[in-house]
Amino acid sequence: MSSSAAGAPRMTLRQSVALVWRTLRSMRTALVLLLLLALAAVAGSLVPQAGMADARIAATFRDHPLRARIFNQLGLFDVYGSWWFTLIYTLLLISLAACLSPRTRALVRNARARPQPARELDAMRHYAERAVPVQPDRAISGARRVLRRRMFRVSQGNGAGPPALAADKGLAREAGSLLFHWSFLLILVGIVWGKGTGFSGRVAIVEGETWTEAHANYDGQIREGRLFNEDHSGIRIRVDDFTATYRIPSGQPEDFVTRAELSDPNGDVVRSVEIRVNHPAGMGGVKFYQFGYGWAPVIEVEKDGEPVASAPVVCTQGRPPEGVSALQLPWNCVVKLPSLSPQVGIRFQLYPDSRALYALLETGQAMPMLTEFAPVMTYTAYRGDLRADRVQNATVLDTTAMRAWKDGVLGAGRTERLGDGLSISFPDLRQYTVLEVKRDRGLWIMLLAAILLLVGLLPALYTSRRKVWVTAEPNASGSVLKVGGFALQRRSQFEEEFARLVDELAKASGEKVGTS
């Protein structure tokens, strides 16, 4: 570590690498990087982030286009995925490793070496002399016992002088600190391994349907890790029932539960489960989390008495405006009938609780719909060209080439005739549950790292390094015990500690003679 760069006009590659390395392994660099990481996180919490607040990002683009473009260029809308955030924590972890490697080597060296003898104990900050009525050898063996009992490592001086001991304790401090810091690299391993080999997706399943865990069945709503090798589990889940319970009238949610049956691909293992918020269910490392729900009315369409369609239709909600609860909004769905001529498309608005619709019509007040109560749908049917040849959104009806034909209200269990032999009925209202499906094989590494981190942190903060030396020199009535001490931390506490230790050392030697 010589500063050879000072004199030379240009650094060689080797020297610049060495300089970067030296910079990285200084604690100051690590601290600066840590604070930079915190600053980046602050930015990420103040600027709306993609995937969490997409609506607010869109609003920024609309209201402040310039600012939004600058933010976008800087990656501020996706701080935690940006190249500079990755750079900061990568450098931090490299710097950490660079700091820790030499410290770990030093600790190992230190742990192997015996405590070293010292000279001139009486020049030490903590020093005491006691006359004890035993021979030096006996005094020293008493002292050794006391120090051992107090968790010191003790080594005996083999020099020519009077018998002497060197003792130290508190290596746990450095060991704990190292364990704590290394744990962060283990956390990185856990993240990379877990996310890399895992996947996480989201799926909507209507009551009564069975869904198989496979790539194609996520409809694109899945993120797979880079190391993932398409080993989806093939686990099947049959959703028997979903129930959302709210407290009435406050509307505070009480329980969301999906009752389902999980089975492995061969059907050997079959298990009934209840999936709740906070209570996921899993099989073979794949876990299912309750994420959301919605309504799926069964809609049957007949043409001249012949069934044209019959299936539950998934309804969705728009984003509720400010101050409005999602529970007050009706649910929207669309039925498209491209085989008819002219083609027919029907828009539905579902009110799971019909009282909400009547309240809206009579008083204009939106009412939360907490449970299913005589569900009702309003509908508007269109005739014309569905423009099915274009890329389409199934939840949106493109009416540019259609004309409004009929509208009305369809209650549960009722049938409405639209004319031309076409009738629609609403025999049943079901719910669908939205489940988050996930596999993360790095979790146990993360848990291990978290435990090691805490285990390391405690001694790193609360133990202190102490060194003590004892010699016993013969005198007329036995020997003189000379004790020197040195504390690297909590020096003020050591004052008392040392005094007690000296008392105990003297007492151990004194009592020995009394009993023998």
Binding site: G220, Q252, V308, V313, L327, S492
Partner: protein, 346 residues
């Protein structure tokens, strides 16, 4: 007792506690200025009375709601005030025998409780599903204990900076003391402008005894408090991650609450390291601690009240966990389950 009676008891006890803390605060400030022993006794009694009432309030609230009494911000604030005062009375005053900072500590609790009762009050109710987990016992207890200790450390750090400034001014007249720039790598107790290992500041004998304890004492107490809080906070963050894995299927998602608790953690980690770095001990480290204190307040208040995230339920309002389905799924899902498909028909 009925729910109403428990609620009533909780609210009454809350008011008694608030009143007693205010009285105690005034008493402690009087003691700080005039050092009358009886006044300290009265102030301390008032604080203990407040602590007892505060405890009754928290416990009664738990019975009223039929669950752990830390399910929303009002309850959390009440418990935070309780722990800060308890930490002060039993640790700072009990162990370290530092009596004169009580006014500031009680002022913090009074402020917390006043904000709680004025702006954050909600009636007792069962937990929303997102909070209904045994992890609320583990995670929130750790978070609140860590917070109260950080808050205590923050208050004492402010006093340290005040006192340190005064001592420097007084000390400027005396012979300057060279700061000791040791190459210490370990966390160290004493700031550099004190003789290493000495607990009393150099030249203190010559300065007039001020209102506050010596800066070195304040600094040490603040450091110990923060060093004690740090592992608890670390554990709280870890427990939170485990709970998030259980509830939302991911242990970390940069939710504002997660982000800010991480920021707070990083700042206090920086503080502990700064104390080990020569040239950063003492005042500079104290400033970092204050930034950490500010970050803690943001984590607690600002994130809950103004920044929308998954933790917004902390207000106790309706919390349907993002029940809207992602648009893309719906489209494809609806396409599949649409009652009619041209291909089927043909």
């Amino acid at each position: 007792m009925s729910t109403e009676q428990w609620t009533r008891l909780s609210t009454d006890a809350f008011n008694v506690a608030l009143f007693a803390y205010v009285a105690g605060m005034l008493g402690y400030f009087h003691y700080l200025a005039f050092r009358r022993q009886p006044v300290w006794r009265l102030a301390s009694s008032a604080a203990f009375l407040g602590l007892a009432a505060n405890s009754v309030s928290v416990v009664a609230r738990g019975f009223a709601a039929g669950r752990v009494p830390w399910g929303n911000m009002y309850e959390y604030s009440s418990l935070l005030a309780l722990l800060v005062v308890a930490g002060y009375l039993f640790v700072v005053e009990g162990v370290y025998k530092v009596r004169v900072v009580g006014g500031f500590v009680l002022a913090f609790s009074v402020l917390t409780m006043a904000v709680a009762v004025l702006f954050l009050y909600v009636g007792p109710a069962p937990l929303v599903p997102a909070l209904n987990s045994y992890w609320i016992k583990i995670h929130v207890v750790a978070a609140i204990t860590g917070s109260s200790l950080f808050a205590l450390g923050g208050v004492i750090t402010i006093l340290y900076l005040v006192k340190d400034r005064r001592e420097r001014r007084a000390g400027a007249a005396l012979a300057p003391v060279a700061p000791i720039m040791g190459g210490a790598v370990d966390l160290e107790d004493a700031p550099p402008h004190f003789e290493t290992g000495a607990d009393e500041p150099v030249g203190d004998g010559a300065t007039r005894r001020g209102l506050l304890p010596p800066a070195a004492t304040l600094d040490r107490v603040a450091y110990r408090t923060i060093a004690f809080a740090f592992p608890i906070w670390t554990f709280a963050v870890i427990a939170g991650a485990i709970w998030a894995e259980e509830a939302w299927g991911r242990y970390w998602g940069w939710d504002p609450k997660e982000t800010w608790s991480f920021i707070t953690w990083v700042i206090f980690a920086g503080y502990l390291h700064a104390r080990a770095t020569s040239g950063w001990r003492g005042r500079r480290a104290a400033v970092i601690a204050l930034v950490g204190f500010a970050s803690l307040l943001i984590t607690y208040y600002a994130v809950n009240l103004w920044i929308v995230g998954l933790h917004s339920y902390a207000m106790g309002v309706l919390a349907l966990p993002a029940m809207a389905l992602n648009g893309a799924t719906v489209r494809r899902r609806a396409a599949r389950s649409a009652p009619h498909d041209a291909r089927e028909e043909e």
